[in-house]
Amino acid sequence: MTSMPKDPMLPVPFRIERVQRELSDTFTMEMVAKDGGTFSFKAGQFNMLYVFGVGEVPISISGDPADRSKVVHTTRAVGAVTKALDALKAGDEIGVRGPFGTDWPVEAAYGHDLVFVAGGVGLAPLRPAIYQAMANREKFGRVVVLYGARTPEDILFKKELERWRGRFDMDVGVTVDRATGKWSGNVGVVTKLVARGGFDPLHTTAFVCGPEVMMRYVAAELEKKGVARSSVWVSMERNMKCGCGLCGHCQWGPHFVCKDGPVFRYDRIADMFSIREL
């Protein structure tokens, strides 16, 4: 039985089961519904997390969509609410509304090569789609994960990336913007990994998540490689408040990011990327 009420504005109390420190400012929380119910979501969707007395913040779900027993969020502590979230520990309670928004069309990519391109904490919203893809590995051609971080110390889900890299049916490329001599991997922007290819551009679906500027350059590089704009999907971030397209806080041109996004097909929004006022 699902824990989530029919009223999307009503938060449901969840108990934090486990907090995992990922980076110095980034953490992963595993939560279970206080009433013991299950939680279903699609890869790419987000929840509104409410820290009682502080406020609410939209955070993408970073767990496995197949695991309905808990909900997992990976958050970077940058603002008032996320810093308050960072202060919570196992046993504490928060309010959860969701899941909201559109999802990564993993099933629609069956038969294609699947390329995930993530930058920084953008790997978190992509992780559920990677789990889903790997659970249905035989339905795809090549599966490629390309990840860019600031420094080697800022690599998110490092152990998981190492595990994925160790698989024989998945290609993983990691690069950092800068490093010192201890690092023996790639240094440079993530677009450079895209340029190296390793996938069939005509039969590729790409999911891209990271800072907007990075997504723009990655999409351009994918296009240069021959991947159609309609095969590229990006996840957008805006100031989402209600989560269900009522309040208009996250309006982006003709779209509400919370309802029409956060996952958008690139050809539908590409022109808006270059409009400074948006």
């Binding site: 110095s24 400012d25 820290v51 009682f52 007395g53 502080v54 406020g55 970077r76 502590a77 940058v78 603002g79 008032a80 609410v81 810093k83 308050a84 960072d86 202060a87 919570l88 930058g119 920084g120 904490v121 860019g148 971080a149 600031r150 800022d154 690069t175 913007d177 800068r178 490093a179 010192t180 001599g181 201890k182 690092w183 023996s184 991997g185 790639n186 240094v187 440079g188 922007v189 677009t191 450079k192 340029a195 190296r196 990271g210 800072p211 500027v213 990075m214 350059y217």
Partner: protein, 212 residues
């Protein structure tokens, strides 16, 4: 002769000169030689003469900047199938970075003096070489700009210090869902919370004094 043929084949197979005209390739071969660099060996040094460029055939090279008193900062890695070094094209032909082999590296090096002479004598060769170098230079300039933007977030110094975090914990726990002041305090975490409280107290005592 055998070596010339081998070098020609290597040039043909390397992505940088892929599809080059056979005649032009022969001119390139005359300026090329195979080189091997052990781990830690420098291909060129910052401030040194930029009298070569390299087509990396195998291995990884770190392009780095030496920072006094600190480990060198790697700003880019160049690997198999890529080209390394373009200061040889631009006067005063001085290398601006160090290039160090991170792994055993095999590369084809080109003598800049020899090639520049041939390029000056044969504009078709000059055009062909520059036509291939300009996108590499543009791409690297764009990449450098992106790296400068520091897209992936705040650096170590800007991250929440442990002390601030403890203050945030107290504010959250103390709020019990009622105290909206915690919200305002958390919204400006750059200002130490204790300092804010102290300032509030001072304000209150000033008010009291005025009232008194």
């Amino acid at each position: 002769m055998v070596q010339t043929e081998t070098l020609g084949r290597v040039i043909d197979e390397h992505p940088f000169f892929q599809g080059i005209d056979a005649g032009l390739r022969e001119l390139l071969v005359g300026c090329a030689k195979n080189e091997r660099f052990e781990v830690g060996e420098f291909l060129f040094r910052n401030g040194g003469k930029a009298d070569k460029f390299f087509l990396v055939r195998a291995g990884t090279v770190a392009v780095e900047v030496d920072v006094p008193g600190k480990p060198p900062i790697i700003i880019e890695t160049v690997g198999e199938g890529e080209v390394l070094g373009w200061s040889w094209i631009v006067a005063p032909h001085i290398a601006s970075f160090d290039a160090r082999a991170m792994t055993l590296t095999r590369a084809l090096s080109f003598d800049a003096k020899c090639l520049l002479k041939k390029m000056a004598a044969d504009p078709a060769l000059g055009y062909e070489v520059l036509r291939r170098f300009v996108p590499v230079m543009a791409h690297r300039l764009q990449a450098s700009r992106m790296q400068m933007l520091d897209l992936y977030g705040p650096d170590g110094e800007d991250r929440p210090a442990k002390k601030v975090k403890i203050e945030v914990v107290k504010a959250v726990k103390g709020s019990k869902g009622k105290n909206r002041k915690a919200d305002a305090l958390l919204a400006a975490p750059e200002k130490p919370l204790k300092a804010t409280r102290k300032a509030d107290k001072e304000k209150a005592s000033k008010k009291q004094k005025k009232a008194g």
